[in-house]
Amino acid sequence: MLKLKLEALGHPTPSDVALSNRKEFASTVLWLEDQKIRLYTIEDREKLRSLDNMQIWEEGYKKYCIDLKMPPYDTQLEQLTWMVGHAMRLEFLDDPSQYKVINGQDPNLTKNNGAQSQQKIQTIFDGKINVHDKEFIAGVRALATKLNVPHHPNHLLQLEAIARIVHERIGPAAKHRKAITGTPFPFDKGNDVVSANDPMLDYPMRILRLLQIQSLRQLQTQINETIVSVQTLTANPKTDTKLGKVGR
Amino acid sequence: MEVEFSKENFLLPEMKYEYLDHTADVQLHGWGSTLQEAFEQCGVAMFGYMTELDYVSVESCYEIEAKGDDIEGLLFHFLDELLFLFSAEPFLVCKKLEITKFDLDNFEIVCRCYGEPFELGKHPQGTEVKAITYSAMQVVQDVEHSHYEVFVIIDI
């Protein structure tokens, strides 16, 4: 993702940015400041420029993080991700109208979504199963067909979807739950219009928003339950009509 | 602070105040032959808006002090003190005010306030005064004819 973002920003060699190397990191930071962020005047970038003397650079970088108001992140990856995000935001705000034409139908944007979340989970069950094993992938695909889970190029995402269905519909807790009755939610109604003339964008946006609202509702209900349980300990409402004459 | 007073020879002043027209609020207009009297009248006028003074009897007396930076400020703080006397302990409604110290060099007032604590059922409820304002405040001093007037808008 970081590479994609760097590429979008016009970094000359996005795939060569190796985060393992502090110097490489330093030069990427300098590139971002020089080309995109431009927080400092050219003269003020002196210390950030000293790629040959990393001690001075580190000093300048420390101050730069503060001036940039970057949240205190621990790793280089997090810091760089934040800075790239910041740079993109600035880039966008320079001329928002330029990006108006980008919508859900643009094929260039949807091409790459498969290849991302592969980096971290390589094995599961303490390394007993290699998730890229052909057999494993075939198993996931078969299970998906059985459960009517739509195809996704990344089988791991598909596996996640399968896990949710099993958990919510087939698990022992779900078996005893009553089926939901009533009218289905009319999510085409309401006062919000996402993008009336672009169903490709409108439809998924509405679904995403509903999912978000559902999870918020769950959180709010948990909060309310917590409040009520505290109330059982603290609540003791009283009135004393002697205090004020009420009515006549 | 509550102070002693004698009910003998207790005279109520004549009414020298009125309520003037104003958009959302009401303007108090008090007058008298001294500035002191105009201040006293203006204060009573405010209580007259909170209840009907005919129902109020004089049972106790409290003394208040007020200070300001100028004459308008003094009037403002004087009325603010009176409003406070009504809004919190002792919840006093005043029928008569008597300014015992009226120092226009240092802008200080000491005033004795005669009345009784507000009591629902006994005193009819009028309008609540939220605050005193400086808006269009006027203090008119006609020394030659011994005629003094004050105008204050109260927020209700």
């Binding site: 705000l93 109604k189 919000d192 009420v246 | -």
Partner: protein, 506 residues
């Protein structure tokens, strides 16, 4: 102040469309931004008449006309966007009532003004629903009105019946509705349906004078006087069935309870104290305003910060106050119908503040900026999906509660995206005065006013009957005109109309 003939003044005003007028720079001196106000043809006449009257030679007294006040606010340091007048605007202390203005928090010269909040800090409206219908309530209407009147302390000099000492007050000022929750006066769901969740975290009771606390303590849990009221209302019309059902309003005839009250003497004193402090700060920092009543201080100054913290405490006071009356209302209903508030489904639909200043993020000229938004006699109206509105209203937009005056109808509106862009997510708050109090007293007879209410089937209990004519519908702008203007201008959307069947007033 610039004195010009009326014809000259009109040159600075421009009608942009059927519902909106622009006030150009130069109408008042030093305007940093333009002004704007929303009116329909009837309200427009009232507005211009007021201006015309003030142009007569020799006109003295009280407040400047609303249009002038909007323009003076536009001249305050740090204001962004426009100084906005809502349809129910009428002149008030410094800021007109129904004026909203936003100030850039990142501009060191920006100001906060107590006059832009009002004396009754966090005056607002709360709406409770019930599962009762008009046919259930009509036969017992008089008893129910009396029962409410017996439960809720109203009018001048009334004292609260919820026992409180000085320490309780300190806690309530800091905690807002969380205090009411802890003590068990309200339900967890009430908090959820409250602006700011019923608590401003910036509150600091230490910044509040002893005098304000002494005025506040006996008055907690009281309705107050003036235009404050509690009303039993019936749903009269539903314009947006889908949004109404999200609020638990299913059909015409359903009974709801509206409570309109504020922070009582506590808030009034906080405002008074701040005005005195700010007069001094203005001299020190050399802040020039067009009108002495626009006392203000830089947001970053000690006075500015102290006021914001004390104001937040007053806002918390108001929420505890409305919550206490919610408790008393539920008790009254439960007793009357011999059941529990739970079984009557007496949930809070929403609780709005229409006298407050808040820090909010808005998009100005394509950039997100942190603003201090003053709303005086103006209600926040955020659009669907705004993160600061409750999850239950994410799809409908924030409910906006617009209270009518004694005997007239009230409305529930919802916030719109257009309002977010045009008015910083703000809309009207009520009817707005048209006649002065003294004029209403002269022209109307209180017995007639009461008889009239009775004739149209409204049970009324009022603490000071002789003052009801000041609050008679005739003394106000027509709330329907006000709401229709907001709807037509698109800054909020009509959802439900209610009419009263019983009124409890100070």
């Amino acid at each position: 102040m610039v004195v010009r003939p009326y014809v000259e003044e009109l040159k600075y005003l421009e009608k942009i469309n059927d519902h909106c007028w622009r006030i150009k720079k130069g109408f008042q001196p030093n305007m940093n931004v333009e002004g704007v106000f929303y009116v329909n043809s009837r309200l427009e006449k009232l507005m211009l008449e007021e201006l015309k009257n003030s142009c007569r030679p020799g006109a003295v007294g009280g407040f400047l006309p609303g249009v002038k006040q909007i323009a003076n606010v536009a001249a305050l340091p740090g204001i962004v966007g426009r100084s906005i007048g809502l349809p129910d605007i009428h002149s008030g202390y410094g800021f007109a009532i129904g004026n909203m203005a936003a100030f850039d928090m990142d501009d060191p010269l920006s100001v906060v003004s107590p006059g832009g909040v009002g004396f009754d800090i966090n005056c607002g409206v709360r709406l409770l629903r019930t599962n009762l219908y008009e046919k259930d309530v009509q036969p017992v209407k008089e008893q129910l009105a009396q029962s409410l009147f017996d439960h809720i302390p109203v009018g001048v000099g009334s004292k609260g019946i919820i026992p409180m000492n000085a320490r309780d007050l300190e806690e309530a000022l800091e905690m807002g509705m969380d205090w009411s929750l802890r003590e068990g006066y309200v339900w967890a769901e009430d908090k959820e349906h409250c602006e700011e969740y019923g608590r401003m975290l910036s509150a600091d009771p230490a910044k509040v004078s002893m005098r304000a606390k002494k005025r506040g303590l006996p008055q907690l849990g009281t309705l107050g006087a003036g235009n404050h009221y509690a009303e039993i209302q019936v749903v009269d019309e539903i314009y947006d069935k889908w949004s109404a059902s999200k609020m638990g309003i299913e059909e015409k005839g359903q009974v709801v309870v509206m409570i309109h009250s504020g922070s009582r003497g506590f808030g009034h004193q906080v405002a008074t104290d701040a005005l005195v402090q700010m007069e001094k700060a203005m001299k020190r920092d050399k802040i020039e305003t067009n009108d002495r009543q626009l006392a203000c201080a830089r947001i970053n100054s000690v006075e500015g910060q102290d006021y914001l913290k004390a104001m937040a405490a007053a806002a918390n006071f108001a929420w505890v106050n409305r919550s206490s009356m919610t408790f008393l209302t539920r008790q009254a209903f439960a007793k009357m119908f011999n059941t529990t508030p739970d079984d009557l489904d007496m949930h809070v639909i929403y609780d709005v503040s229409h006298n407050i200043a808040k820090v909010e993020n808005h998009i100005v000229d394509g950039r997100e900026r942190k603003l201090l938004v003053h709303r005086k006699g103006s209600t926040r109206a955020f659009p669907p999906h705004h993160p600061l509105i409750p999850v239950d209203y994410q799809l409908t937009g924030q409910p906006v509660l617009v209270g009518g005056t004694m005997g007239t109808c009230s409305y529930v509106l919802t916030g719109t995206e257009r309002g977010m862009q045009e008015t910083f997510g703000s809309t009207c708050h009520g009817a707005g005065r048209a006649l002065s109090r003294a004029k209403s007293r002269r022209n109307l007879d209180y017995k007639e006013v009461l008889d009239k209410l009775e004739q149209i089937g409204i049970a009324i209990r009022v603490a000071s009957p002789k003052l009801v004519m000041e609050e008679a519908p005739e003394a106000y702008k027509d709330v329907t005109d006000v709401v229709d203007t907001c709807h037509a201008a698109g800054i909020s959307k009509k959802c439900i109309k209610m009419r009263p069947i019983a009124v409890i007033k100070g």
